[in-house]
Amino acid sequence: MSENPTETQGSIKLSTKSVNLYYGNHHALGDITFDIPSCAITAIIGPSGCGKSTLLRLFNRMNDLIPSVTVTGDVFLNDVPIYGKDMDVVSLRQKIGMVFQKPNVFPMSIYENVAIGPKHHGIRSKRELMEIAERCLKQASLWDEVKDMLSKPGLGLALGQQQRLCIARALAVEPEVLLMDESCSALDPQSTMKIEDLMQELAKKYTIIIVTHNMEQAARVSHMSAFMMIDENKIGRLHEYSDTHQMFINPKDKLTEDYITGRFG
């Protein structure tokens, strides 16, 4: 098992400084500044369309795929600006993995799904790849269910298993950060429970950022919570960012309280 050298509980893993993001003319994120602690789970919550996914995709530069996007301000990973000129996006994405809303297992075998990342990052030895696959499937608590069918197509698994396969796939490139955009929303309560347990386990080693519409989930699993809201100009703002306990017991203002108690959103 590889320990990330920079991981010490409580240090700052990612931070944003006055980030603005535009889709063409549409100002989607306005002046976002916050720090994300390492080895913890940070939840991004807020009503639909407030820019949670946009904010999450900022960290692994997935927004780059949309030609109309422009970003101002700075985002730092371990104090290195990731929107800097000499940033290599490919290696950034190896450090910051992502699990999507719907499981996006590739149409290939279970083993190949997990091995595809490390294989492309230079690991050639079959034995080594097999070890990685086993370790990551175990980490994603999927190993016992699939160990006898590694060469079967990944798409044959149940949805909850597919999502854990996607987690294993992301872990296989040894990221430091894991981004999860509503990764449980397509799953049944049991699979959701499994993945929540998994997140807690992984948070000992990885920095995890989740987007969720499920307030109970945010309260259950996250250490920090970021509540986003669109302002009167439809710009997504970070309305409150604090310790999850604090936010759920003693929200900063009425707006936050109304949202987390489910009075709107």
Binding site: L65, R93, K95, I116, G117, H120, V173
Partner: protein, 281 residues
């Protein structure tokens, strides 16, 4: 209202039925005309016979089968990589304005009459081959080049459609793993679109093997098993095209029998393509 619906229903039914029966009639006609001669010569002698001499009553189509297979294979070897690469370029790299220009141009390529391709091949490809590679110029190579160009629209558009039909989550998933664009294409996009690409290739081959006019003009049409790709050959289609005008009696039947063989080959190819694309779903 009811009556009107009923009438239109029967009109459509009649039209649909007549097109299907036309197809059935053609099939039956070909079989009735072709089967007796196969029975007379013997199926083995017909398919594997080396000599085609209607005036002596010798009907062996093996040289033509070799002709069709070599020309078509040549077209596939030249056309498929170009077509698949074109489709990858259009879906993955081309700026939208360029692909908007490209797509109708490729469709136009499909609309050019085959005789124009043949004429063009005769004027440019054949002399080019004669001057640079030797031989008569009229050759397998010339036919393959022309057919490769002719199958491009089929290969490009079907490959393109099957790549575009992939969920965008595959691409995002691969990029999010830190794979480069090229690695994503090679290891995720292309394998995922594999069945569509294979279908594109098979349909392209089906089109190539059935093409007649363009290849009549550039193949040289000699009935002999070729020794190199610079030799002239005759294909199953050109055999029918060339001799149909004056053939009669058993000779005419033998041409229909050639048609049966062609018919079966193309049916098998199409069925394979359909099977592959359907298995995906």
């Amino acid at each position: 209202m009811k009556l009107k619906e009923n009438i239109s229903k029967y009109i459509f039914l009649t039209l649909a039925f007549s097109s299907i029966s036309a197809l059935a009639l053609i099939t039956v006609f070909i079989i009735i005309n072709g089967v007796p001669i196969i029975a007379e010569v013997g199926i083995i002698n017909f398919i594997f016979g080396m000599s085609w001499a209607p005036s002596h009553g010798e009907y062996g189509i093996f040289p033509m089968i070799i002709g069709s297979v070599t020309v078509t294979l040549g077209a596939a070897v030249l056309g498929v990589p170009i077509g698949v690469c074109c489709a990858i370029f259009l879906t993955e790299f081309a700026p939208p304005t360029l692909s908007k220009l490209f797509r109708p141009a490729i469709q136009l390529l499909a609309g050019i009459p085959s005789v124009v391709y043949g004429f063009w091949g005769l004027l440019f490809i054949v002399p080019f081959i004669r001057n640079f590679f030797g031989g008569p110029g009229l050759s397998i190579l010339a036919g393959s080049v022309i057919l490769a160009i002719m199958v491009l629209p089929t290969v490009i558009s079907i490959t393109e459609v099957s790549i575009l039909a992939l969920p965008k989550q595959y691409r995002e998933g691969a990029l999010a793993l830190g794979m480069t664009h090229w690695q994503t294409i090679r290891s995720v996009i292309l394998p995922s679109a594999k069945s569509g690409i294979v279908a594109a290739v098979i349909l392209g081959i089906g089109r190539a093997i059935g093409e007649t006019m363009a290849v009549i003009m550039v193949l040289g049409n000699a009935v002999a098993v070729p020794e190199s790709i610079l030799d002239p050959v005759r294909t199953l289609t050109t055999n029918i095209g060339i001799e149909m005008g004056y053939a009669s009696g058993t000779h005419r039947q033998a041409l229909f029998a050639t048609g049966i063989v062609l018919f079966i080959i193309i049916m098998v190819l199409n069925a394979t393509a359909q099977y592959i694309t359907r298995k995906k779903k």
